[in-house]
Symmetry: C2
Subunit: 153 residues, 2 copies
Amino acid sequence: MQKHLIGAAVGVATLALATTAAAQFKPEELIQYRQAGYSFMSWNMGKIKVNLDRDYNQAQVAGAANAIAAIANSGMGALYAPGTERDIGDVKTNVKPAFFENPEDVRDLAMDFNQKANALAEVAQGGDQEAVRAAFGQVGEACKACHDKYRAD
Amino acid sequence: MQKHLIGAAVGVATLALATTAAAQFKPEELIQYRQAGYSFMSWNMGKIKVNLDRDYNQAQVAGAANAIAAIANSGMGALYAPGTERDIGDVKTNVKPAFFENPEDVRDLAMDFNQKANALAEVAQGGDQEAVRAAFGQVGEACKACHDKYRAD
């Protein structure tokens, strides 16, 4: 297990732009920050869905897609630093242990998600709703690919 | 009070790009989403501070500043829709009632914050640390201006 954790730590570090981002925060704070990031992305995914299903507001969709992409690009890997693998007091995590044991697979999933989020933000700047719908679907699939493997529901 | 709430609702709506963003969510979800947004911005503010105080990683600062600006620009006004003025079950809010009674002042504070966040994201693309330090300070003051008036601690 110790070997796994060290391996995971090295892999997770490559996801982040710098490990200094984690050092100043307690593990329970890192868990809460990563949950905040996904929660805020979820709100913005929901907004885009409503825009595609009902009245399309280009500025709102662009703003939502930008938020998702910017959060994805902000170095969230640092939020999975060692010590964040399990519940800490009242702070619960839904990340499965397997997440920390498969750093290469996680990195691939994360990079795919970031690419799809960036592509959505790009097309959302324009007014082509069908292009946004397709890119939105791709982001949703990238979310699900990681959730299916590594999120305990 | 009813009059205040109606006035607040109208004012808050002007903060949002569209009110449809709120209609699909329950008030308690909106409270949680707004808290998630501020929490994630706080993590990124903390990262920028560490970069300015210790080793400066330009890519990390740019990513953090982009996340703050994109969240600020994502239409957070919709997260203060009617029904979100008070605690709902276990979901507590730290927003003072005065926030909802002063929509014009809130709008001014929000616009100032967004401008400062955008300015920080702009200078963070470059490598001028002192410019980033100054813009970062301005964002911090804009955060505090609203917290001092409208956040119950």
